[in-house]
């Protein structure tokens, strides 16, 4: 099965999970990659190899294993920097996940130790987000305005699931605009360049939550228009426990440290410290070494397949799914119903049937794994007046046949509840 220059059958053989059977002989139809992706042998083997033969702490051990481990860890930084076309490897900060990366940036504001006016924050100052954000790009800002007295503002979302972009929301008092590159519920890809241009005109910084875009599209951070970009390893065939904050070097330099500890310092006295240059300024303590090495293997794998091919393949899947879901009676798609500026994440409701019941029967009867609930985006669901949705999300290893299995499953769900 080859389409768009991408050999899906060959790719599926790289992922051991697809060789397993579920109880009762059900095949696995994994449509939950927006939640977390499956892992290829190349990532699993690289992590195992590092743990087995090259493991030691990084950056401070003066022996052969220390050197090998440090080379592998810093080598992963080079690979990630290349993958997102970062102008410098030092602009890639390893974090625990995307949430930590977003929190790191939020904690840079309103810190009395920082005098750079871009990061001062108090009553009257504004932070701008959107109604389609994941909780991890909402709650850190709520906590920040509680600490500082600043104001939280947001763009709305249109009925067809697009950003209701009003440039007037961004004013001269706006310090940062932080939005999703691609929505984890709607699939919508936001007009980042346009928003960033306005933000920069007003003197505000721009942070992107790219957790749902970097795994699925070729992303060149230097051309997005953003100052800071956060994403996570486990959604891009890498392990959990490793995330990335990319930032323009000059912006990262101006930000205060986030967590204090070993490896993030230059010199320490009892009453004060000076800090290591970026990226290590933001990497206190022993980092997730094997996880970073695994992420390095993941970006090698994705690069080997080709991000352009992955993007084209997901586009084919998404177009097929939009057509197929349209044929299901009583199905309401939450998000754009056309292929333009959207990724392979489709959320929907079935009239009269709760998503938990949909997900349960899809799983138990057909082995179809989808996510049900509010997907950590409760305000977006409130916007559409619904408590929850069923979400199918695709990746490089999915096929149109699996989407057809989903649709057959939905018809069966409707029969059970008829």
């Amino acid at each position: 099965m080859t389409y768009d220059g991408l050999d899906v059958e060959k790719i599926r053989k790289d992922f051991p999970v697809f060789s397993r059977e579920l109880p009762d002989g059900r095949p696995l139809v994994y449509l939950d990659s927006g939640n977390s992706s499956q892992k290829p042998n190349q990532v699993i083997d690289t992590m195992r190899e590092h743990l087995a033969f090259h493991y030691s702490n990084v950056g401070r051990a003066m022996h052969l294993l220390g050197a090998e481990s440090t080379d592998a860890y810093e080598g992963a930084r080079d690979k990630v920097a290349g993958f997102i076309r970062a102008p410098s490897r030092d602009e890639v900060v390893f974090t625990k996940n995307a949430s930590e990366a977003l929190n790191l940036v939020a904690y840079s504001f309103g810190n009395p130790a920082v005098t750079d006016p871009r990061f001062t924050l108090g009553p009257g100052d504004e932070i701008v987000i959107s109604e389609m954000e994941h909780h991890s790009n909402i709650v850190p800002w709520q906590l920040l305005v509680q600490r500082t007295g600043a104001t939280l503002k947001w763009f709305g979302v249109t009925g067809d699931g697009r950003l209701d972009y009003d440039p007037g929301v961004i004013t001269e008092r706006t310090k940062i605009v932080s939005i999703a590159h691609q929505s984890n519920v709607l699939g919508t890809v936001n007009p980042v360049a346009e928003v960033a241009a306005r933000a920069h005109e007003m003197g505000a910084l721009v942070l992107l939550d790219a957790s749902q875009s970097v795994p699925h599209h070729p992303v060149d951070v230097s051309r997005l228009g953003a100052d800071l970009v956060a994403f996570t390893g486990h959604k891009m065939v890498g392990p959990s426990g490793i995330g990335v904050l990319w930032g323009r070097a000059e912006v990262l330099d101006a930000m205060p440290p986030f967590l204090g500890g070993g490896e993030m310092i230059e010199a320490v006295w009892m009453d004060r410290s000076t800090y290591a240059p970026v990226p290590h300024k933001f990497e206190a303590g022993t980092p997730p070494i094997v996880e970073a090495v695994g992420l390095g293997a993941a970006v090698d794998y994705l690069t080997g397949v080709g991000m352009e091919s992955i993007e084209a393949h997901e586009r084919t899947l998404t177009a097929h799914a939009l057509d197929a879901l349209r044929e299901v009676p009583g199905l309401r798609l939450i998000g754009p119903d056309t292929i333009e500026e959207r990724g392979g994440t489709l959320s929907f409701t079935l009239e009269g049937i709760h998503p938990h019941d949909v997900g349960q029967i899809l799983d138990d009867h057909f082995g179809v794994a989808v996510r049900v609930g509010h997907h950590c985006a409760r305000p977006l669901h409130l916007r559409f007046g619904i408590p929850a949705t069923t979400r199918a999300s695709f990746y490089l290893y999915n096929t149109t046949g699996e989407i057809d299995a989903l649709v057959r499953g939905l018809h069966h769900v409707q029969k059970v509840f008829a």
């Binding site: 109880p23 019941d357 349960q360 029967i361 609930g373 059970v416 509840f417």
Partner: protein, 146 residues
């Protein structure tokens, strides 16, 4: 096809035709319980009469078939019974739900609620079945305090 056994006819029947749904007066206590992971919620009222007799259990809420059917079954079992009797049913139901499918249900005590036995095999759904029952227990305790 384990899921098929979870969606017993009795559960689907209660989901499609909920018994005693809607909030009513008078009542001694009202509680509101939510399940933050899935957004299910229930508002539940109890009216207790002489000798601990449950005169009414009324409720309103939203959620999956399991959570809504459980509230409906609870209404039927509790209304007309006594606080003491119903609390022992709640305890037995909780024991069944938390038994990971390995606990034999006592049909004598549970009546129709025994239909939920299949839910216990799905840890993620146990809290759906228990939502209204925990709300009921809370409401009864509060009504005694007033």
């Amino acid at each position: 096809m384990i899921g098929e056994s979870m969606y017993q006819e009795l559960i689907l029947e209660h989901y499609k035709h909920p018994q005693g749904r809607g909030l009513r007066e008078p009542y001694d206590a009202e509680v509101h319980h939510v399940n933050p992971t899935c957004g299910d919620e229930i508002t539940l009222r109890v009216k207790v009469g002489d000798a601990g007799k449950i005169l009414d259990v009324s409720y309103d809420g939203q959620g999956c078939s399991i959570s809504q059917a459980a509230a409906s079954v609870l209404h039927e079992l509790a209304t007309g019974s006594t606080v003491e009797e119903t609390l022992s049913v709640v305890d037995e139901f909780t024991r069944l739900m938390q038994g990971r499918g390995k606990v034999e249900a006592d049909e004598e005590v549970l009546g129709d609620a025994v239909a939920f036995a299949g839910v216990a095999k799905f840890p993620a759904r146990v809290k759906c079945a228990l939502l209204s029952w925990m709300a009921y227990k809370d409401a009864v305790v509060r009504s005694a305090a007033t």
